[in-house]
């Protein structure tokens, strides 16, 4: 019996945790128990940002990481954080579909880190949170401190005239409550799990970035498995991937409904407002083209063509 240990930052009760448990049971039934999947949740082994190195070095067989954690190895992964490039579900689905140019190119590059992507877990779009007034246009960010989680999102906020401030997930609630930052940024399911409606009252549905998680396996470990086992695991991965992608729309809808129920106002952007955001975002695309090199240009062109 071969052990497949998977490290996960989030708790088992999160939708990524539930999805990983689905993967576990699929693998174990398909391989008849030859592969024993063990999930180490809640960052007991590694935090999100350590996963690429941990899996790549073979310290652990597999792990779940936000795709953006690979930005240090493959700067092109932040194509999903290019402002408003993936602001509809159709575009996201097309980009992450098996065999799409975007996905293939990124997976190929990531495989060089010693870890390869087994499947993608949908996490939804990034939204903005505020008090009293929605964030309709870049003018609403002017001179405000904005929570971000990564360099590219920081570039975006800066381009829009705001002051990006890195705040960790666990300090988010109090940072909003106490006004350490004026504007929040998170995935909408985070609003629900952290009860952010107690401290913020408006959600602006910007979907300015698309958050993807990836399940990565160590390449050396993967190549020790026989073809049949690998086939079973890949089939299990396909089931889990499809399941979470299909459920994502419902999860987000539920999160919005819960937010509304708890007194939040949900604001959608008009086409003119969206155009204003697009206009200020150009520097982010330029700096992406500059830092992500040839691969970045290829991926970005493919994404824009979707």
């Amino acid at each position: 019996q071969e052990k497949m240990r998977i490290t996960l930052q989030l708790p088992l009760t999160s939708h990524l945790g539930e999805n990983l448990q689905l993967f576990e049971s699929e693998v174990e039934t398909r391989t008849g128990g030859a592969i024993d999947v063990e999930i180490y949740d809640s960052a007991t082994l590694y935090t999100d940002r350590e996963v690429p190195q941990a899996v790549g070095s073979g310290a652990i067989e597999a792990g779940v990481a936000s795709l953006t954690r690979y930005v240090g190895d493959v700067p092109a992964v932040d194509v999903f954080y290019m402002p408003f490039l993936f602001n509809t579900e159709e575009k996201v689905r097309a980009a992450v579909a098996e065999g799409s140019d975007v996905r293939e190119a990124l997976e190929e590059a990531i495989a060089e880190t010693g870890g390869q992507i087994l499947y993608w877990q949908a996490y939804g779009g990034a939204i903005m949170l505020s008090k009293e007034e929605p964030i309709r246009t870049p003018a609403d960010l002017e001179g405000k401190k904005v929570r971000v989680f990564g360099k590219t999102l920081g570039d975006f906020v800066e381009a829009a005239g705001g002051a990006p401030t890195l705040i960790s997930g666990s300090e988010q609630y109090l940072a909003y409550q106490r006004g350490t930052v004026d504007v929040g940024m998170t995935g909408v399911s985070g609003v629900q799990s952290r009860k952010l409606w107690e401290v913020m009252d408006t959600i602006t549905v910007t979907n300015h970035a698309n958050i993807e998680f990836v399940v990565v396996v160590n390449s050396d470990w993967w190549s020790t498995l026989d073809d049949e086992t690998r086939g079973h695991i890949e089939a299990a991965a396909a089931v889990a991937q499809e399941d979470v992608r299909n459920r994502m729309a419902q999860i987000e809808a539920d999160a919005y409904a819960a937010a509304e129920e708890n007194g939040m106002t949900i604001v959608e952007l008009t086409d003119e407002e969206l155009a204003a955001w697009r206009e200020v975002s150009q520097p982010v695309f330029d700096s992406y083209r500059e830092s992500a090199g040839e691969l970045g240009a290829r991926v970005l062109d493919a994404a824009e063509g979707l």
Binding site: T44, A54, L174, A175, T180
Partner: protein
């Protein structure tokens, strides 16, 4: 079986005098090796510990506390409080507790609080005929307020391992901290009433009260700046520590003019040594914790607790007994580090708030600091007062009782801790 052996080996290593950091890290390595897990986890665990932004608050709070300490702020605080309440029945004892509480608001460490106030208060109290054991106990216990009233290094460490907001923990410590100060004061006054051997002070003249207060004012203002700065969201705990350090320099160099270059250099060096010693323990515990997680120990213990312990009251009773026993011999920080990952999942399963549980752990750690044979505050008071360990330990006994009573109060009324961070 393997695990029982590992626990025994850990004890042997500790008793041989292997530094706690390396005993924990070393047993972590052994567990990784036995379980056929990658040893890469050892350096990874160490680096990820030192890469935690919140832990950067540790050296900065230590720098702030050391600078103030070398600048004579402890003496000033005690003099000011004494001028106001020294003439009360048991007034010196009350002044001592209040000074501990005030110093606790600028220092993150119990040992520093006990040592600083102890150095000025013990000679004064014994000179005025206060009972020796009572005096020692008062200082040892009063010093533990250092980690319950923010800033607090154990809270930073708990926040780090439990991934909880350190700001919320700091705020949650204030209520129980004030309650303990109140209880200690009541006890000190009662004790004074029934032991008339001490000499009461004359009320200090107003001029003296004013002069002493003015001298202490900048430090009190600094404590307020740190606490309200964190509370209002103006800065993160780490930034508050940096600002506090800068302000401590301004106070001791510009306003009081008590800090020499030599003293500054010494404070920096002491802060460095303590930081390295503390953070290596955190790192060693991280390696050990990862290995335990791979062996599924926290999960198994959680399941065991779930299956055998009936309800939250039983849980807290059992855990308190375990922590008290552990606290006899374990160093305070290692207790937080080893027990939090094991206990917190079970506690949360039983419906305890993780912030509440952090405050509970800190009070239990305070008990560990004043129980023999291993209790850092006992050692500090012993060396400051040139007393025997037995005398100091006996003196702390009633205070230990008060602290355990505060745990009962905290259990019955969780808002004592949770009101400030979440409901105000």
């Amino acid at each position: 079986m393997t695990l029982a052996l590992v626990v025994i080996c850990l004890f042997v290593l500790l008793l041989l005098g292997v530094p706690v950091a390396f005993a924990l890290g070393g047993m972590g390595l052994v567990l990784l090796w036995l379980g056929d897990f990658s040893l890469l986890m050892a350096p990874q665990g160490i680096m990820s510990t030192l890469n935690g932004f919140i832990l950067l608050a540790v050296p900065l709070f230590l720098l702030m506390g050391n600078v103030l300490l070398k600048g004579g702020v402890g003496r000033d605080l005690f003099a000011a409080v004494q001028a106001w309440v020294g003439h009360w029945p048991g007034g010196l004892a009350v002044a001592t507790i209040l000074s501990c509480g005030l110093f606790a608001a600028i220092s993150g460490s119990s040992v520093a609080t006990a040592a600083t106030i102890g150095t000025v208060a013990i000679p004064e109290m014994t000179k005025r005929g206060y009972d020796k054991r009572h005096t020692y106990g008062l200082l040892a216990a009063g010093g533990t307020l250092g980690i319950l009233i923010p800033p607090s290094i154990p809270m930073i460490v708990y926040g780090f391992v439990a991934e909880q907001s350190v700001i919320a923990l700091f705020m949650a410590g204030i209520g129980p901290g004030l309650a303990l100060i109140g209880a200690f004061i009541v006890f000190a006054i009662l004790h004074a009433r029934f032991s008339p051997g001490y000499e009461r002070l004359r009320p200090a003249p107003w001029s003296e009260r004013r002069a002493a207060s003015i001298r202490a004012l900048p430090s009190v203002a600094l404590a307020a700046l740190v606490v309200f700065g964190i509370y209002s969201g103006a800065f993160t705990p780490t930034e508050a520590a940096a600002i506090g350090f800068a302000a401590a320099l301004v106070i001791t160099v510009v306003i009081l003019r008590t800090l020499t270059w030599q003293a500054f250099v010494e404070s920096a060096r002491d802060a460095m040594v303590t930081t390295v010693a503390i953070l290596l323990i955190v790192a060693g515990a991280k390696v050990f914790g990862k290995a335990l997680a791979l062996w599924r120990v926290p999960q198994d213990i959680s399941a065991f607790i779930g299956a055998t312990i009936d309800g939250p009251i039983m849980f807290i009773l059992v855990v308190s007994v375990v922590l008290l026993l552990m606290g006899l011999i374990f160093e305070a920080l290692s207790m937080v580090l080893i027990m939090t990952p094991v206990l917190l999942p079970a506690a949360m399963g039983l419906g305890f708030d993780p912030i509440w549980f952090g405050i509970y752990m800190v009070i239990m750690v305070e008990c560990a600091l004043i129980t023999p044979p291993v209790g850092l505050n006992l050692y500090v008071i012993q060396s400051v007062a040139c007393a025997t360990l037995a005398d100091v330990a006996r003196g702390t006994l009633p205070f230990l009782g008060i602290m355990l009573a505060s745990v009962v109060l905290l259990y019955a009324w969780p808002d004592l801790a949770l009101y400030l961070p979440f409901k105000w």
